[in-house]
């Protein structure tokens, strides 16, 4: 492996990882591993890191020896960054990425409105960063290389899968021939054309959109703010949409809608692309074409993300249109959902039924993403004359009427699903205001850490264990903190406690959690709220832990 980690001059696009023979290939009988993850893209890498942080050894297989070709997924959402923080590489992503919160929408030649995705302060992470997928994968691969429990095998391609009652048997092709490997559990993170899906004879079904889009990454010096610019029917590209995004290294992503009749091979040629870019930037614009791709997309998903002992995560399980940045972001959230559950089951802290909840929760999230993505696509590319008439009516009205701006849909940008209907939630028994219902991802807020330094609530609650966030410092709060520890000991799972005083410095946290002295939020290892109380005793915390681990099923 080219060991040039830790610096920012690594050319992640040309990085090649060496195939290395593993002793498993010479074993007389197939070796059994707890978890094999197939696919070292953003989802597989995030899952492997998370499992390793849970002290679960993981074999990560990749059929190739390179990172992402081209920038591909470029928008990484606040929730994904919070997950990367927990995985130990969030800071690097944010330092390299272009942070943005503001989007502008244009119709024909006019700006019709702008929006701010994160209008309030007091969050560690911005609404989005733009960062080329090869950096994201590179930083994740760097982090993975620091974890001895991750056994990353490049040029290891799965060519056979057999499910048994207590394990999965994989046949793996390498440059030196095939070998077999057994795993208690397998995660298929091998992308939209998942070979794991094919090997199991499964399908991802849905709706294909009859439209083509051109992505052009151009390198240039351009004095524009880091904002998302979206044009409906601009003068420079009539009857179609255009999206402009800033990436690091002076690279700009331009996404041109082309229509279904466009010839993908023809449109990929620089002599076709350059005039399109010049129409947007001006005839005398100086730029280099970095990467281009013509794509179509579908909104689809597998019926069930859990298939026996194989778990599908990311694009292998579901696909969306790019509008809304819901592909890679939801995949990383799949990984986070699966990691702690696999760890709990492998450690005998939870029954196998907990793994069913991975499917239920992430299928629910995928449906939400597909719904949002389909609606955005129907708005951006109207499918009928009347749909186009209403779309244009909305855009005309949006110039002067605020209500119409709420109808403009250039992509509802990725936010994590609130798992309201999850069986792992304990329903509220006390009254609370605000959006942090059981099933929601915990909100961030500034905190003062135990050592007196400024910190963030989600960092403090990022141990990877269940976390009791206890507000106040009175007797009720002290008893609640004790109850959480006691309940964890009784349930056989560690529970970390984060204490938040109710004072001036913690006013935002107190408000976001609608907290009073003694209020407790119980967070799952993936930072989703699973229960909350005004007063907690060990009995109710234990019951909530049992429910969140499916131990009472």
């Amino acid at each position: 492996m080219q060991k040039r980690y830790g610096d920012n001059v690594t050319d992640y696009q040309s990085l090649r990882f060496d195939y290395r023979r593993h002793p498993d290939q010479d074993a007389a009988a197939p070796v059994r591993r707890p978890v094999v993850v197939v696919g070292a893209g953003p989802v597989g890498l995030a899952l492997a890191i998370d499992l390793a942080q849970h002290e679960i050894p993981v074999v990560l297989l990749d059929n190739d020896n390179t990172l992402s070709t081209g920038s591909r997924a470029i928008c990484f959402a606040k929730r994904t960054l919070e997950i990367f923080d927990r995985l130990g590489c969030g800071e690097r992503m944010v330092d390299k990425g272009v942070s943005w919160n503001v989007g502008r929408v244009f119709f024909k030649s006019e700006e019709i409105y702008s929006f701010d995705l994160l209008p309030e302060a007091g969050h560690a992470r911005p609404a989005f960063i733009n960062l080329q997928q090869y950096y994201v994968e590179g930083f994740l691969a760097d982090r993975a290389s620091e974890l001895p429990l991750i056994d990353l095998r490049w040029k290891n391609k799965v060519t056979g899968v057999v499910q048994h009652a207590d394990h999965v048997e994989l046949t793996i092709e390498t440059p030196e021939g095939p070998y077999r490997l057994e795993a208690n559990h397998v995660a298929a993170c091998d992308g939209s054309r998942s070979s794991m899906r094919g090997l199991l004879g499964l399908e991802s079904k849905g709706r294909q959109f009859k439209d083509r889009f051109l992505i052009a990454d151009v390198k240039m010096k351009l004095d524009r703010p880091a904002e998302r610019w979206f044009w409906f029917d601009p003068e420079f590209h009539r009857n179609q949409s255009v999206l402009l995004h800033m990436q690091p290294d002076n690279v700009w992503r331009i996404d041109f809608q082309l229509g279904w009749d466009a010839d993908p091979e023809e449109e990929k040629k620089p002599e076709k692309i350059i005039p399109r870019v010049k129409a947007l930037l001006g005839e005398d614009a100086q730029f280099d074409l970095e990467w281009a791709s013509v794509y179509t997309f579908s909104c689809l998903r597998m019926d069930r993300f859990r298939q026996g002992r194989v778990f599908f995560a990311g694009d292998s399980a579901h696909g969306v249109s790019p509008f809304g940045a819901r592909g890679a972001n939801s995949g990383v959230q799949d990984a986070e959902n699966l990691a702690w559950k696999l760890a709990a089951v492998l450690r005998h802290q939870a029954p196998d039924a907990l793994l069913d909840s991975y499917g239920h929760e992430r299928e629910y999230a995928a449906d939400e993403n597909i719904l949002n993505s389909t609606r955005a696509t129907d708005f951006i590319t109207p499918k009928s004359e009347i749909s186009r008439l209403f779309r244009d009516a909305v855009l005309e009205l949006a110039k002067s009427h605020a209500f119409a701006r709420t109808l403009v849909n250039s992509g509802r940008l990725s936010v994590p699903a609130t798992l309201r209907t999850s069986a792992l939630n304990s329903p509220d028994t006390d009254a609370f205001e605000g959006g942090l219902v059981p099933g929601a991802v915990a909100a961030d807020a500034p905190v003062i850490r135990a050592d007196g330094r400024a910190g963030w609530l989600l960092h403090e609650a990022g141990s990877g264990a269940f976390t009791a966030v206890v507000f106040g410092d009175g007797g009720t709060a002290d008893r609640a903190a004790m109850a959480a520890a006691e309940a964890g000991a009784a349930a056989g799972v560690p529970v970390t406690t984060v204490r938040i005083p109710i004072d001036e410095a913690h006013a935002l946290a107190t408000r976001r959690y609608d907290a009073r002295d003694g209020t407790v939020y119980l967070l799952r290892p993936d930072q989703h709220v699973c229960a909350r109380w005004r007063r907690a005793d060990a009995g109710i915390v234990r019951a909530a832990l049992d429910r969140a681990l499916c131990c009472n099923a």
Partner: protein
């Protein structure tokens, strides 16, 4: 006079001066081409829908406007 309520669509007569309204509606389309009239109607639907606001009432409106 019957009042619109949030829960249900009013289909009982509810316009103060029906003849004045109808005349004004046709008047609003004066001088517009057919395409412009369609676009005007689309904007009008959106403006009125926002005024109504309630999704159940809007759904009942779609049903009422569907001839069957």
């Amino acid at each position: 006079m019957p009042q619109a309520n949030a829960a249900h669509l009013t289909t009982a007569p509810n316009i103060d001066a029906p003849d004045d309204f109808y005349e004004a509606l046709i008047e609003a389309h004066q001088g517009l081409s057919t395409d412009e009239s369609h676009a005007f109607n689309a904007r009008l639907v959106l403006v009125l829908a926002n005024h109504i606001g309630s999704m159940p009432v809007l759904r009942e409106s779609f049903a009422a406007a569907t001839l069957c």
